[in-house]
Amino acid sequence: MTFSLLHATDFADRLLYKIVPPLKAGMIVLADRYTYTAFARDVARGVHRQWVRDLYGFAVRPDLAVYFRVPIDVSLDRLLARRVKLKFYEAGMDMGWSANYTESFRIFQTKVLDEYDQLVEEFGLQVIEAGSSITDQQRDFRRLVSENLETPKS
């Protein structure tokens, strides 16, 4: 619960200082993770689904939300290739599911990905399969963003 609330505090701070002012100025805000990360991660940690959605009721709904979906094995390979050790919280070690970082990561991230799958439907997230090449992903991403920018907002 404290994990969830600390992240919400951080988000509220960034929302009011870094997100809302540029929006008022008519700029594009690129957010590397948004409230959906909290919805997936906090619920995987056992926080109530509706409570965390209510908590973030103060957030601005994004014009476009893109979810880069990747199988657990691919994300593990990428993370382990880049650095030696998984981080404590990203592996969900606080939950005490396993003393083994890789095993705990699998258990935790499986729950997180299940939550994301629900979010795709609930919030209409656009999915990009992130197992493909960076170039392909970027092309898809650019297409989605262009379409969104061209669509006049009511």
Partner: protein, 251 residues
């Protein structure tokens, strides 16, 4: 977002059985049939809460009850952060509210729930009502804040020490003096701390008053002497403890 659910579906509100979660609670922490009790003492700054709690603690312990005290912003995790954030000038109403909630969540999980499980009496120096009052004064949506605190446990007893602004102002001046935050200087009502203190505390008192019925506060006159308030607290707490099944002795 349009949301038609009534607040009682998930938020803090009256009518909840004491010792149960107000709303969704902590899904991973079942608290049913825990033998402990929560007794909250509410009231604005300087009304004499900590004096009363110290006296209550002694009285309860002499009778053989295990007592745990928990106080606003005193969580190990959050106190340094909250102090730091108050010292800088970057807090806004949302981050202010959320830091308090985080402090409360930490104490709930680490202090209050374990104590209830072990059959202690938890004396809470302020409870969620202080957060709701402060948020209300700062214009935070009242439904949102109640849902936020849906993870809190409804106390068995809530005492509210009521005082008027004039008496309060004199009391605060006699002790520590008027401080920045308890004078609501962040609300930028003006540079004069006296005016700001009075207007801020007056608004706070209004918020507390509006919650008294909602949450079933037992209202005590905070202007009475320390001893007469203590006698009244002991009388009501004694009655309550006699009525409820005698808690397991843990000490």
């Amino acid at each position: 977002m349009t949301d038609q659910r009534p607040p009682e579906d998930s938020g803090a509100h009256g009518g909840v059985t004491p010792g149960q979660y107000y709303g969704h609670g902590l899904p991973y922490a079942a608290i049913d049939n825990y033998p402990g009790k929560i007794i909250a003492i509410e009231g604005t700054d300087g009304v004499g809460r900590s004096t009363q709690i110290a006296l209550l603690r002694e009285w309860l312990e002499v009778q053989g009850y295990g007592v745990v005290e928990t106080g606003w912003t005193r969580s190990q995790l959050m106190q340094p952060t909250i102090d730091l954030a108050k010292a800088s000038n970057t807090l806004n109403k949302l981050t202010f509210v959320l830091l308090y909630a985080c402090d409360f969540a930490d104490r709930l999980e680490k202090e209050i729930i374990p104590a209830l499980k072990a059959g202690f009496i938890v004396l809470a120096d302020r409870y969620i009502y202080t957060a709701i009052a402060r948020a209300g004064v700062r214009g935070v949506d009242s439904l949102w804040i109640r849902r936020l605190y849906g993870f809190a446990i409804a106390p068995h007893l809530v005492f509210y020490l009521r005082i008027d602004v004039d008496a309060l102002a004199r009391r605060v001046l006699e002790s520590s003096g008027m401080a920045y935050w308890e004078s609501g200087m962040d609300m930028k009502a003006g540079d004069d701390i006296w005016d700001s203190f009075r207007s801020y505390q007056r608004q706070l008192l209004k918020e507390y008053a509006s919650m008294a019925d909602e949450f079933g506060f037992r209202v005590l006159d905070g202007k009475k002497s320390v001893n007469s308030i203590q006698d009244e607290l002991r009388r009501q707490i004694g009655e309550f403890l006699a009525e409820s099944a005698s808690p397991r002795m843990t000490a």
